[in-house]
Symmetry: C2
Subunit: 253 residues, 2 copies
Amino acid sequence: MKDKFEFAQDLIRQAVTYVRNRMTEDLQIEEKTRFDDLVTNIDKDTQDFMVSRIQANYPDDYILGEENDLYHDVKEGHVWVLDPIDGTVNFIAQGRDFAVMIAYYEEGLGKFGLIYDVTGGNLYSGGGQFEVTCNGKPLSSYQNRPLFRQLLGANGRMYADNYLGLADFAQELLGVRVLGSAGISMSRVLEGQLFGYCSSISPWDYAAASIMGEKLGYELLTMTGEPLDYKSRQAVMFIPKAEVARVKKVIHK
Amino acid sequence: MKDKFEFAQDLIRQAVTYVRNRMTEDLQIEEKTRFDDLVTNIDKDTQDFMVSRIQANYPDDYILGEENDLYHDVKEGHVWVLDPIDGTVNFIAQGRDFAVMIAYYEEGLGKFGLIYDVTGGNLYSGGGQFEVTCNGKPLSSYQNRPLFRQLLGANGRMYADNYLGLADFAQELLGVRVLGSAGISMSRVLEGQLFGYCSSISPWDYAAASIMGEKLGYELLTMTGEPLDYKSRQAVMFIPKAEVARVKKVIHK
């Protein structure tokens, strides 16, 4: 597993270099499900680049990728979960606050995850048997702090709609931050900068953070408190395990 | 004016060093008007540090500061506007995404502004007779781009409440980002990363960005389209001058 983890770290660095080298190009932008669900040629090409490297090195492994209809159930076999650019809207509009993400599963068990904040220059990696680090520096487990001195990362629309009581819950905290990238937001949770993160996201958006968070005292659940299906887009919360009962009292069906 | 601008650049760098050196201390946090309107001892001490440097060098100048009840009308005389830590909640909860800001006025005319994104390591400065730069690199004037490929920076509560139609307007864009600091948000507008920024803020929050923005084709108005009073907290919009008429059609009284 150590070799595979090292391969994954090399791979994500190469993918980030690939994205950085192509960021100055004119983007070809396509709408997927709606006007704000966008994909660019660089998302697709970066995923292809990662897929070809994985297939060359681990020809028997499976891949679940955000782009190009690359689906495989994480519960079956050895599965790489890839998000070539998480926060594509930020990538297009801001040129910042987007991430490359990789997660690796064996028979449904998360072995390690990686989030690379491309413009911030931070690589978060670890989980499973590996310590969780940011650029090699170990991250601490969740430190209990009063809720009213913490911030929540959230999807802006879900917050505005008070989805399942999300805005009510936010009132117990200092407020919300809407950053527009699950990877960036969840890496801030792992750093202890945000209390948690609520959004409507898919397996490639949450797999890496979930595996690392497990190791640092965080839990990823649907907003109604159920385990995720690792298949569809779901409304999720990524919060400290120690606070799940408390959050469940406010976030309601 | 050139000497004063250089003094201001030295001063903001010293203030940032001062903040960085004290960031690891235990903070003394006080509530100002409400539970999420916070100030720390470092906000206050940093402002005192800046004030003493200005008074030593320009004893006849006036100061309008966020902290310590330091009020002077920007329209009268030579006035320094100081925000020692913009985004104090981010400073406390995230340890990132906060700014030190300085603006300088003579008889109500903005001469230059400076925003230092402390953890991002970016100094935005210029306006008046000075080119607007980020770390010495000139920033471009607003480049016209389709609204539906741009993002809006906003105050989370005003967005959620659809204040004056803010959320309706956001629907013409890719979405909103809630960053929790006027200085950080408006520096992203100056960089062309955000289309504009809407929030309820005070003179020390907007003075520096307003002076720099003027030079790059941006305008700062109340959300109902009036000039600001530079005295009280007001709901403002910081948007491209070329788009003011269009925005006014959607943002309504």
